[in-house]
Symmetry: C2
Subunit: 645 residues, 2 copies
């Protein structure tokens, strides 16, 4: 490395590429992060109550500045721009994450639910207050007994036609709402998800507006709230548990875009199928997963910025020339950090596509094709899962790569790690989400599956339709097609030929995806034919479902890289991003090479050549590494690691 003229990246131009269509909003948020950077210190200094209050006040200031409500219609004081709203949220993820989650709860979940599940009358009544931060709310979906299985939740909202009111109850202790951000201190109102009962008939889960506190912050009758107190992280968010004891709300408090109840107690909905209705309602809340995905990727960027800058100045162990070597010149250190850098860039580009699609679909919600909406939901689920695991894994690797210094809270990994840890769980457990993605992949083969549950394959496998679906899969022909795409490099003697050919990466990723989906379908079919107990069959197929989904999302990430590269002019930045794309693609193949070898798509010679090529790419990327993290554009005040100053 020392005798080498370091190649250059045009950092500002690369930041422009990364910032994409909402660069102005991102820059506004960067300025806000700088302005409120004191919060990162206060987070360590204040006690829990003080920290919560500090977060709330910062939220209100940002709201005044218009940085948190870009997604609401202009007529209620919002910005009328969904894409910009996500861009702002992602950028704020460079800073304190309690603040971010508090913003997400108030505007994404609480305000978002009113916007998406309510009709104009509710919008007119509440949204201006929500957008102005005058009405603080929470989103009471999760129960202690039911987290990812939303359809199973047990809180009841029973219609009483005599009083023209709903009576809301927590029927058993485990049905209390759990982990509700805002509930413990600040929320005056909640969107409560409950099983709706009208005239003795159950209509499934619906959302209602329920007052929790009066204007003085006192709990209203029938409401019991217990503070969740200390959590691993996000302690600036006031999470709590809520029990309802015969709490009454007016009939119009039912958010009625997808269902309403007449005064005399007749239930009606524009969507006949209860399952489809449920999933349509949930589908409107996809913004939460899109937001968490973006926040995860940006938290990973902060960690990489710290660890790579540190590794480029920290020297340890004397080399042969008598001076101590930089950590980043050690091959092992490159292995620990640079493939994660490449993956972070890839997930950034995948996230950019997801946001564009979300913006497009939700800006014209009534004309959007239902299939496109489902594809968006699956994409959001998959990107959230891989993005949040990226964050957990990358932050941990970066902490360890900074040694003992990384363990001091002043060097930022403490908060980053603790706060993002729950991202793998909230907005849907990653393993559950990936099963949702896998189910979507199967249904692509058989459209009649569209109306089945989306939250797990238990019901899917248990359903009667298993056999029909499987029979219709076109997996085999797809696989044949993909096989033909594989380059002939394997046969041409040199195992390294074509390893950097993007069409090779693409063919490998596609083949893995298709083969895994096909394998999953065949397993399900075989099990069903053998009369295997459905629960047992599901249990046995779960790992395969998750693996198929991971292959699918990684293929999307690779394609996002490709499409971004296709849009760029030639030059140093494109060359650097091509290199990162190669590093991402080959690292994925290297990590999963056993699978490709098992399935005859990779020879042992070529597998070894891939490892050599990855090593070569690491050495080529090393001199660019600091510039590549600089291009993320994390403001210095948000990097906030004492040992870099």
């Amino acid at each position: 490395m020392p005798d080498f003229v370091a190649p250059q990246v045009d950092v500002p131009a690369l930041t422009e590429v990364l910032d994409g269509p909402h660069a102005e909003i991102r820059d506004l948020c960067r300025r806000k992060l700088i302005e409120h950077a004191g919060l990162l210190d206060d987070a360590q200094r204040l006690d829990r109550d003080g920290y919560r209050e500090r977060v709330l006040q910062t939220l209100l200031q940002l709201t005044d500045a218009g940085a948190t409500t870009l997604g609401f219609p202009k007529r209620y004081g919002g910005g009328g721009d969904l894409g910009a709203a996500i861009a702002a949220f992602e950028t704020m993820a460079f800073g304190d994450l309690s603040l971010l989650v508090k913003i997400g709860v108030q505007f994404g979940l609480f305000g978002g639910a009113i916007l998406q599940l309510g009709t104009e009358r509710r919008h007119d009544r509440y949204l201006a207050d929500v957008v102005a931060g005058r009405l603080l709310g929470c989103f009471a979906m999760t129960e202690q007994g039911h987290g990812s299985d939303v359809q199973g939740l047990q809180t009841v909202a029973r219609y009483d036609p005599g009083r023209e009111q709903f009576i809301i109850d927590t029927p058993v202790d485990s049905a209390h709402k759990e982990f509700i951000g805002g509930a413990a201190a600040h929320a005056r109102m909640a969107v409560v998800f409950a099983q709706l009962e009208v005239g003795g008939a159950g209509h499934g889960v619906h959302a209602l507006l329920v007052d929790l506190r009066d204007r003085n912050g006192r709990l209203l009758p029938g409401i019991r709230i217990v503070d969740d107190r200390q959590k691993i992280g996000l302690n600036g968010v006031d999470n709590g548990r809520i029990w309802f004891d015969r709490v009454t709300v007016d009939r119009e408090n039912l958010l009625d875009r997808y269902a309403s109840v007449s005064a005399d107690g007749v239930y009606s909905s524009p969507i006949e199928s209860p399952d489809r209705r449920f999933f349509t309602m949930l589908g409107t809340l996809v913004q939460g997963r899109v937001s968490v995905a973006g926040a995860s990727v940006n938290a990973a960027k902060v960690a990489l910025t710290i660890a790579i800058r540190y590794a480029d100045r920290r020297r340890q162990f004397t080399g042969p020339n008598g001076t101590e070597e930089l950590l980043l010149d050690y091959g092992m250190h490159q292995r620990r950090l640079l493939p994660r850098l490449a993956r972070t860039y890839g997930l950034h580009f995948a996230q950019e596509q997801l946001v564009a699609e979300y913006d497009d679909v939700f800006t014209h919600p009534d004309t959007a094709d239902p299939k496109r909406r489902r594809a968006l939901e699956a994409r959001a689920a998959g990107t959230k899962a891989l993005g949040s695991w990226l964050a957990t894994d990358t932050i941990q690797a970066c902490r360890e790569a900074c040694g003992g210094a990384g363990y001091l809270s002043e060097n930022r990994f403490d908060a980053l790690r603790a706060d993002t840890d729950v991202f793998t769980t909230f907005e849907g457990d990653n393993h559950v989400l990936l099963q949702l993605v896998a189910k979507g992949l199967l249904t692509n083969y058989a459209s009649e599956f569209n109306d089945l549950d989306q939250l797990g394959m238990v019901r899917f496998v248990a359903g009667h339709a298993v056999e029909t679906v499987i029979e219709r899969t076109a997996a085999h022909s797809l696989m044949e097609r993909v096989r033909d795409l594989l380059p002939a490099g394997e046969d041409r003697g040199d195992a390294r030929t074509g390893l950097l050919d993007p069409s090779y990466h693409s063919a490998m990723f596609r083949w893995r995806e298709e083969h895994r989906i096909d394998g999953l379908a065949r397993r399900l079919k075989r099990g069903a034919e053998d009369g295997m107990n459905a629960a047992e069959l599901f249990s046995r197929c779960q790992q395969h479902a998750v693996e198929a989904a991971v292959a699918h999302v990684e293929r999307q990430v690779l394609e996002a890289y490709e499409q971004k590269l296709a849009s760029l002019p030639d030059g140093a930045n494109k060359t650097a991003l091509c290199q990162l794309r190669d590093l991402f693609a080959l690292s994925v193949i290297e990590a999963d090479r056993g699978w490709w070898m098992e399935h005859g798509r990779l020879s042992s010679q070529r597998a070894k050549a891939i490892t050599r090529e990855v090593d070569e790419l690491l050495r080529k990327t090393r001199p660019l590494a600091v510039q590549l993290v600089d291009a993320f554009g994390v403001p210095e005040e948000a990097v906030h690691a004492a040992f870099l100053h």
Copy 2:
């Protein structure tokens, strides 16, 4: 699973197997954990100063009860039993880990250094006070500028023959001592590691006793200490930074087992080679790594106890029969938890062997063969690395497997995760330790390497001897021998034949280890022959060195399983442990199957068969899982997860 008569484990008998030779001590510590269980709550409740004080008071109470000083000679009030000391330390790792680390600092590091590096005169003067907890101390080795590279540290101790004193200085700011447990508040004295200079000549790193505070806790002249304040975890330990400004200590404060300075300034040492002297001194401190390894494995046990019990009672998603399924009946959930359970058992047995060897070597320090000491040091380094990664990985997997509930501090993962995180870093960064192990493996091939540095291969590669060593390796013949051991299952048609044959596991593990060492040696040789820059060569070989070391340690774990099994009578417990051993062995092979396939030791058919066998083993282990964690014998009061009550 439901139609299945669950097999049984004899839990008390299995606990006896796990507790091994020091069962009484372990039970004493369990009682102490119960007695002091309030500390786990106080850790969350108290502020930092209060928590530190609470930890100190608990340490003193445990010391009065004789639970912390078993490793010191009886004549100073200790228990005279090194193995028992480690057993006690490991057991205390079920409880609050700040307390554990505080015990480790006071008795293992501070007291241990006086014991190992001092001679009788020092022992007589200090050890009774140390053992009684009257003299609190710290271990000032690490500097901000030099962590794992101890030989590079810069604090200076210069002998002044006029005053017959050493003058201790922090020559540059980055040479301040960093992360010193006990320094910020409680320690009155420090064992300070410094470069010894006598008469203008440097003699390398030596340890001296330095007073930090007077009896009233006031810092002495020339001592500056800054509190490290908040850390990711272990906030009950008062870590701090120390600067020395012309601090003088008497001549006899040099710990003089391996070196002394006469009044008129003549340096002498029983060990002539400075390198060998340095590594001999460090080698006597191996107890720290042995202790951290054991603590790591036991912290993983606590996490598994919580997550597996939770998964055996938590139901989520309605199955086909209309009831909700237990988490532990899901194949994916088994995949997440049970291979880690098997690995934890394996590392427990490996740790037991390590402790026995440590006990044996250090109980008779003067007769121990130097080779055996070096083997012990390598074993401690490797077990510490794999043990601490096991803890980090297992605790995180368990947290995620408990979903949002796992994120609440009251459910224990918060402290477990945060406190153990630094175990991968302290007592030597894991990556550095594994390179030390790898170097040991190379030196086994060429005994003249024994005297080279042990802390990294930079110096090794840079040395002149590279070629000679490599020429002498006997790797090839070893590999041939191992190849013959491989069973013929591959050829016999059925890919599953012999997968549960322990000799198959053993042959696979050994072959991987030997082949990786050989590959590493060949790479070093080739690079040296090609005249590659030594730093570059080292950088390129680092990953291979770490992989060789991991293969070596995993082979030791497998053998520890084997040896334990060989000592057990037939019966349900032995059957269960055989199953866990199979799960451990096949999970390792499955995870690394790409490597074995690349090297022609595994066919694609057999690789797939291994995955099927792992799945089968998971299903067989599932009904035993709760009993297998019960057998760890973590007291209920130490499990301390609110959601299990």
